[in-house]
């Protein structure tokens, strides 16, 4: 039982929280140095095979989603919940307490023989209340910034909501990507939705740099018969049928036409990176590698002189897939300029109509608001914890008609004491250079 109590106390302690924060910080730092999401072979080629196995075994190839990182986060949440639950009754009690009539324990500063205690209250911006104590002596008291005691509690709550919102979002969010050129209608994963790219424009500046990418989109729910249209730009996603549609990236596409013995055989729009098997000879495959709108040949290979289509160049590769061995043989790789064509026996392949394709990200995360709320609460908590310094003053009228004033402000004791000294005109004893004392204590 005693051991369980000990474990319980440790799990809810600040010490445990600090240990968790340090481990999480170290894990995050490690995760930023080790490339994430590579294969064992890729790690082996980057490091040694032994290191690669270690990285994969410890989950360091996906630090932020591996089991021990999640366990640490769960422990942190548990610690925050326990900490907040344990502190709640005390905080409610302290909030309900009427002012600071009696300052318990050692006050931060005190002055005796004060003629006018009101100057203290005025200086610290506290409106005093007046009462009589058991002996019939007048007591002035008041407090300020009491909400400051809730700072850490609110901050912990915010962190909890933030982790909760992020975690739930990670588990339940739905994300799809579609890419295509103007006029294409594309299925959105397994949702039954269809995304139509009504238009896609790339706005260039005079110096050929991109000013904005704009996609006009229509999302259709064929099952429910719902349709919604909107414009998606970088930094301005479109909200369609409850999904957020982001203009994510772009690239080049071109129409690839195949003729056989002078007769039209097929035409398809390929995005860079896509390939096309020839219709009646599927062993012959043309891969559209890249597009150079303003083609130039440099020492480092093909490049583009600008972003505008002035001298279009299509980098292609031609493959023959051997049906017997299933091996692929590269027949050739070259850059095709306007008016040029690829000829393989009776087949002629041409590239034309270069245009930008767009990649649209379609996303739904029902818990983003919770994470945002958590973040805002953390911010409020920090303001309360770091900038509202709860202080209390009490003044007791002595028999000789003078007052004894006591003040308490734990969060900003040295400054509070300095201000107290200024008002009272008395230098308070400096015996508690607490920092020095504490260090000596630590060294001991």
């Amino acid at each position: 039982m005693a051991a369980l109590k000990k474990i319980w106390r440790f799990l809810s302690s600040m010490q445990f929280a600090v240990i968790l924060l340090v481990i999480l910080a170290a894990a995050c730092a490690g995760g930023s140095f080790i490339p994430q999401g590579l294969t064992l072979q890729e790690y082996a080629s980057a490091y040694s095979e032994r290191t690669a196995s270690l990285i994969v075994a410890l989950g360091l190839d996906d630090v932020f989603h591996c089991w021990w990182f999640i366990v640490l986060s769960v422990f942190l949440c548990g610690n925050l919940i326990l900490c907040n639950l344990i502190r709640l009754p005390g905080l409610i009690k302290r909030t309900k307490r009427s002012g600071g009539k009696v300052i318990l324990g050692e006050p931060t500063a005190a002055a005796e023989g004060v003629a006018d205690p009101n100057q203290f209250f005025e200086r610290f911006g506290i409106t005093p209340k007046e009462e009589k104590d058991e002996d019939g002596r007048a007591v002035l008291y008041g407090d300020r910034h009491r909400a400051g005691i809730w700072g850490a509690w609110v901050c912990h709550l915010g962190v909890l909501l933030l982790i909760l919102g992020f975690g739930l979002g990670q588990m339940t969010h739905r994300e799809y990507t579609v890419y295509g050129v103007t006029g294409e209608s594309l299925p959105v994963g397994d949702t039954g939705l269809v995304m139509t790219i009504d238009d896609f424009r790339v706005k260039l500046r005079e110096d050929d740099t991109v000013s904005q990418y704009t996609a006009e989109l229509t999302l259709t729910d064929t099952a429910k018969g719902l349709t919604e249209s909107g414009t998606a730009e970088v930094n301005r996603p479109a909200e369609l049928l409850g999904y957020r549609c982001y203009q994510n990236s772009t690239g080049w596409a071109a129409a690839v036409t195949v003729t056989k013995s002078g007769s039209f055989l097929q035409e398809e729009v390929l995005c860079a990176g896509e390939f096309l098997p020839v219709l009646d000879l599927p062993e012959l495959v043309v891969l559209f590698n890249a597009f150079y709108p303003d083609y130039v040949l440099t020492d480092e290979g093909p490049a583009t002189a600008s972003g505008s289509i002035r001298n279009p160049g299509y980098l292609y590769s031609l493959y023959y897939l051997d049906p017997a061995t299933e091996e692929e043989h590269m027949l050739g790789m070259n850059v095709l300029l306007s008016g040029e064509q690829i000829t393989v026996d009776d087949y002629v392949i041409t590239f034309s109509e270069p245009q930008n394709y767009t990649l649209i990200q379609i996303k739904k995360d029902r818990f983003t608001w919770l994470a945002l709320l958590g973040g805002l609460i953390v911010l409020c908590g920090l303001v309360l914890a770091l900038y509202l310094k709860p202080m209390r003053l009490s003044a007791l009228r002595e028999e000789d008609g003078t007052w004894t004033v006591k003040g308490e402000c734990r969060k900003s004791a040295p400054i509070f004491r300095e201000q107290f000294e200024k008002i009272s005109g008395v230098t308070l004893p400096r015996e508690q250079d607490s920092v020095l004392e504490q260090e000596k204590e630590t060294e001991r």
């Binding site: 994470a371 920090l382 770091l386």
Partner: protein, 271 residues
């Protein structure tokens, strides 16, 4: 870069150098007027620095906070501003002798970067950019001040009682408190930086948190300062150990700023 901005930038570098030397002379010769002169130069430098940033903003047609040079010069500006506020508020000119070299180093780092003005890529064309980077400037500036205050704290141990350092540097308890306040300001603004960055990332990339190296290191910095605040609640952690921790925290800040942009690829790398 416009000629006027270039002239102002060089003037700022020279003034920050003079400021640093004046603060050094103040602590060497122990003459208070030198501290006043240094403070005056620092304030003048800050004004001219502000003018240089405004001119660059006008020339670029946007806030000058989007590349390594612009952020470095803003970082130096933030550090200069926050340290000046702390010097005036706490009547603590010795702080200048420690913060001025750091400011000069950062502005020197800025001078080594490309100062060309480039048009912004679409993802950076957002109103969140100004809020996100401004809060980062204040945050980093505050952490910079807490770093120099912690150095002073550690240095003060060796000060002779009643000597120059003893009379011109606040008591250790107060130093610890000022450093703590500086961390508080930094942490508050770092939280704002992370929050505004997350909101912006959600609009631009569809994900408010994607473990980009800069995001991750901002979180690491946040966690380290959160640990600092928690440890200060333990009686025997105030003072020297907290000061060492604040120094380590600033090393982390510098890595978040320079190291991440230089060594770790991500949406914040300016390669």
């Amino acid at each position: 870069m416009t000629n006027a901005e270039n002239v102002l930038f060089i003037a700022v570098m020279v003034i920050y150098l003079i400021t640093m030397l004046l603060y050094f002379f103040f602590v060497i010769f122990k003459k208070t007027p030198l501290a006043k002169a240094a403070g005056g130069f620092q304030a003048a430098g800050l004004l001219i620095h502000t003018a240089a940033l405004v001119l660059r903003g006008i020339a670029a047609g946007r806030l000058p906070m989007t590349n390594q040079y612009e952020f470095a010069t803003c970082f130096a500006w933030g550090l200069c501003l926050v340290s000046l506020i702390f010097i005036v508020k706490f009547r603590f000119p010795v702080l200048g002798a420690f913060s001025a070299p750091v400011t000069f180093l950062i502005i020197g780092y800025a001078a080594m970067q490309s100062r060309e003005i480039h048009e912004l890529m679409p993802a950076l064309q957002s109103n969140w950019l100004g809020v996100h980077v401004s809060t980062a400037v204040i945050s980093y500036g505050s952490f910079g001040v807490s770093f120099v205050l912690s150095l002073i704290y550690l240095f003060r141990e060796k000060a002779k009682e009643g000597g120059f350092w003893d009379t011109h540097i606040p008591a250790r308890e107060k130093l610890d408190l000022i450093s703590y306040r500086s961390v508080c300001l930094g942490l508050l603004f770092l939280t704002l930086t992370i929050l505004t960055g997350a909101i912006w990332a959600e609009r631009a990339w569809g994900s408010y948190w994607s473990w980009d190296p800069k995001e991750t290191w901002s979180l690491v910095t946040w966690l380290i300062y959160a640990v600092y605040l928690h440890l200060r609640l333990r009686r025997n952690w105030k003072g020297k150990l907290a000061a060492i921790f604040a120094v380590a925290g600033f090393v982390c800040v510098i890595f978040t700023y320079i190291g991440v942009n230089t060594f770790l690829p991500g949406v914040h790398s300016y390669k």
